[in-house]
C-alpha cells in the first residue's frame, strides 16, 4: 500500500507533466511552444529520475540511462534529446504511468479507506440520517441484514487489498521497470562506454596517487635522509678536525632523521591509514571527526564485511569532505553518516556552512569524484549558495 501510495505521488507528477507536455506540444504546432520544449523534456527527465529513485528504493535496481554531460544551447539540447532513445522511453512511461499508474495508485489509497469505512459501518450507520446511509459503492442501506452485508463487503475490500495489493504494486511499477531502464542494447554499449570512462579515470586517479606518493617520498623523506647522510659526513669530518663542533652536526643529523620518520608516517597514512586497519571504518571516521576543526557527528550503521578498497575510499571521501568543510565552508557543525543497503555503501557528509562548493572547481572534490568513479559509484553534491552543503556518495560494495 505504501508502494502504491508512493506510486500515486509520481503518477500525479506524471499526470501534470503530461498535461503540461500536451499543452506545450499543441503550442509547438503554432511555434511558440518550441521554446518551452527543452524545458519540458528536462521536466520529464526529472519526473522519470524521481520514479527511478523510488523504484531503486524498492530494490528494482533501475539504472539511469543518461550520460552525465548534457549539451548546452536550445537546439543542441533538443537534438540530443530527440536522438536519445531514453527520451522516447521516458515519454512512453510518462503516458502509462499517468493513466494506469494513477488508477492503481488511487486504488491503493482509496481501497483501505473504503475497507475501513464499510467494515465499521454497523458501528455508526445509525448515526446517519436514514436517507443518506449507504455503502461505499453508493447503493442505499436501510435494514440490519443489509448493514451486515456492507460490513462483509468492507472485509472483502480488505481481503482484495491484501490479496491483490502486492500484484497491483508490481503492475504499477512494471512500466517503469521496463521503460526507465536503459534499452537492453543501449544498456550494454552504454555500460561499456561508461566502464571505459571510469576505467580511464581509475587509471588516472591511480597515476595521480602514485605521483603524489612519489613526490611526497622524494621531496620529504628522501631529502631528509640525504640530509642525514651529509650531516653525518660533516660530523665525521669534525670528529677528526674539531671534535667540539661534531656535536652540533650530530644533533642536526638526528633531528633530520626524526623529521624523515615523521614525514614517512604522513606518507604511509596517505596510502592506507593505519587507523583504518586497527579500528575499522567506524573507528577511523570517529577519530577523523575528533580531529576535525568543525564539531562533527558520526553515524555508522552495521556495515558487515567491506572490501578494503571500498573502506579506504569511503574514509578518504569523508576526510577530503571534512577538510573542505573546515577550510572553506565556515560551518559550525558537520555530520558524517555511513550506511549499507544491500550491496551499496552510502557515505553522506553534510555541513551547515556557506555552500557554493562545486566538483568542477578543481578542489578536493575532483579527487573524490575520481575515486568514486573508479569504484563505479555515484556522487551527488548539493551546495546552494548560503548552504547547507551535502555530499552523497554511493559505492557498490559486493564482497
Amino acid at each position: 500500500m505504501e508502494r502504491l501510495a508512493g506510486g500515486l505521488g509520481t503518477s500525479l507528477l506524471a499526470l501534470f507533466t503530461s498535461a503540461g507536455l500536451t499543452v506545450v506540444a499543441v503550442a509547438s504546432l503554432a511555434g511558440v511552444g518550441l521554446l518551452l520544449l527543452p524545458f519540458m523534456l528536462s521536466l520529464v527527465r526529472l519526473v522519470a529520475e524521481r520514479e527511478r529513485g523510488r523504484l531503486n528504493r524498492w530494490q528494482y535496481q533501475v539504472i539511469s540511462p543518461y550520460a552525465d554531460t548534457r549539451p548546452t544551447g536550445w537546439a543542441a539540447r533538443l537534438r540530443a534529446a530527440a536522438s536519445d532513445p531514453a527520451t522516447w522511453r521516458d515519454l512512453r512511461w510518462l503516458a502509462s504511468h499517468a493513466s494506469l499508474g494513477l488508477l492503481l495508485g488511487l486504488a491503493g489509497v482509496v481501497l483501505p479507506i473504503i475497507a475501513v469505512r464499510d467494515a465499521s459501518f454497523p458501528l455508526w450507520w445509525w448515526l446517519l440520517p436514514i436517507e443518506e446511509a449507504g455503502a461505499s459503492l453508493g447503493f442505499p442501506v436501510r435494514t440490519w441484514p443489509a448493514v451486515l452485508a456492507v460490513s462483509l463487503m468492507g472485509i472483502s475490500w480488505a481481503a482484495i487489498l491484501i490479496g491483490l495489493g502486492p500484484a497491483m504494486a508490481r503492475l504499477q511499477a512494471l512500466p517503469g521497470v521496463r521503460l526507465l531502464r536503459p534499452h537492453p542494447s543501449a544498456d550494454l554499449s552504454q555500460r561499456i562506454a561508461q566502464l571505459t570512462v571510469t576505467r580511464a579515470s581509475a587509471l588516472q586517479a591511480h597515476a595521480a596517487e602514485l605521483r603524489r606518493i612519489e613526490r611526497a617520498l622524494h621531496d620529504g623523506t628522501q631529502n631528509r635522509i640525504i640530509g642525514v647522510a651529509v650531516l653525518l659526513g660533516v660530523a665525521r669530518d669534525a670528529v677528526v678536525r674539531d671534535p667540539a663542533s661534531a656535536e652540533a652536526a650530530l644533533e642536526r643529523a638526528q633531528s633530520a632523521a626524526e623529521q624523515a620518520l615523521g614525514e614517512l608516517r604522513t606518507v604511509i597514512r596517505g596510502i592506507l591509514p593505519p587507523v583504518l586497519e586497527e579500528r575499522g571504518l567506524a573507528g577511523a571516521l570517529t577519530s577523523l571527526a575528533a580531529d576535525c576543526l568543525v564539531p562533527c557527528e558520526v553515524t555508522v550503521t552495521e556495515l558487515g564485511h567491506l572490501p578494503v578498497a571500498v573502506e579506504t575510499t569511503a574514509y578518504f571521501i569523508a576526510a577530503e569532505a571534512l577538510t573542505n568543510t573546515a577550510r572553506h565552508s565556515r560551518a559550525t557543525t558537520a555530520a558524517v553518516s555511513v550506511n549499507r543497503v544491500g550491496d551499496l555503501l552510502s557515505v553522506h557528509v553534510r555541513d551547515d556552512g556557506i555552500g557554493g562548493a562545486a566538483v568542477s572547481a578543481g578542489s578536493g572534490l575532483t579527487g573524490i569524484r575520481r575515486r568514486v568513479e573508479a569504484h563505479d559509484g555515484t556522487i551527488t553534491l548539493t551546495s546552494p549558495i548560503g548552504g547547507p552543503t551535502v555530499l552523497e556518495v554511493e559505492l557498490p560494495c559486493a564482497s
Binding site: H218, Q222, N223, I226, A229, L231, G233, D237, A249, R252
Partner: protein, 220 residues
C-alpha cells in the same frame, strides 16, 4: 676554489655549506632557485657550480637546464650535478659539448666527504665524475651493450672507472694491475672507438660520452 651551490632543500644546502666552509672552500653563494643560480654565476664567476637536478618550479630537470645554460654562458665553468636518483640522460645532456669539467653524483655521496672532495677537485681540473650507480646502470642497457661489444671485459671495466672519473693510477689500484696495463687498455679503447687525439675534446670524456650517449638513441 670558488663555489656556487644551487639546492632548493634548505637542510641539504645548509649541510653542504657547513661541509665546504669547514674544509676552507670559498663558498660564494648558496641559492634555492635556477634564476638565482644563474645570477650568482654571472656575478661571482665561480670555478665550479654544485647544482641539484630537481628545482622549482616544476621539480623535474630545471637544475640540469640551468647548469647547461650556465656552462654555455660562462665557459669553462665546471659543474657538479647532485641528484636524488639516477637518470643517465642528464649526464649525457651535460657531457654533450664534449668538454670535461662535469660531474654527476647521487646526493648521498656528499656524505663520503673525501670521495666528494676528490670529485670536486677532479671536475674543477676538467675531468669527469660520474656516479658508479649511473655507470653500473649503463652496462645493463642494450644499446650500451652493442656499443661495448668490441671491447674486452677488462676494457669495459676500465671504461666504467674512467666514466666515474678515476685517473690511470686510481684505476690501476682498483683493478690490481699496473699503470702500464691500464694505459694499454685505454689506448685500445680509444682505438676501438676510433677516437684520435685532437685539440678540441678530451678523449677520455669522448669515450665516456660515447657510452652515455648509447643509452639515449634519439640524441644526435
Amino acid at each position: 676554489m670558488r663555489i656556487v651551490i644551487a639546492e632548493d632543500d634548505a637542510l641539504l644546502r645548509e649541510g653542504l655549506t657547513l661541509l665546504l666552509t669547514a674544509r676552507g672552500f670559498d663558498l660564494v653563494a648558496a641559492v634555492p632557485t635556477p634564476e638565482e643560480f644563474l645570477a650568482a654565476v654571472a656575478e661571482h664567476r665561480p670555478d665550479i657550480a654544485v647544482v641539484d637536478v630537481r628545482m622549482p618550479p616544476t621539480f623535474t630537470d630545471e637544475g640540469i637546464r640551468a647548469a647547461v645554460q650556465a656552462r654555455r654562458l660562462h665557459p669553462p665553468l665546471a659543474v657538479l650535478v647532485l641528484s636524488a636518483y639516477v637518470e643517465q640522460s642528464f649526464a649525457a645532456d651535460l657531457l654533450a659539448d664534449g668538454v670535461g669539467g662535469i660531474g654527476y653524483l647521487l646526493k648521498e655521496r656528499v656524505g663520503r666527504l673525501q670521495e666528494f672532495l676528490d670529485a670536486l677537485h677532479r671536475v674543477v681540473a676538467g675531468g669527469t665524475a660520474i656516479d658508479p650507480e649511473v655507470v653500473a646502470q649503463l652496462f645493463t642497457h642494450q644499446r650500451a651493450i652493442d656499443v661495448m661489444r668490441p671491447l674486452s671485459p677488462r676494457e669495459r671495466e676500465v671504461l666504467a672507472l674512467m666514466a666515474e672519473g678515476l685517473g690511470n693510477t686510481a684505476i690501476a689500484e682498483r683493478l690490481f694491475v699496473t699503470d702500464k696495463a691500464v694505459h694499454k687498455h685505454i689506448r685500445n679503447i680509444f682505438l676501438k672507438f676510433d677516437l684520435h687525439p685532437t685539440d678540441q675534446t678530451d678523449r677520455r670524456v669522448a669515450a665516456v660520452l660515447r657510452y652515455l650517449d648509447s643509452r639515449t638513441p634519439s640524441r644526435s
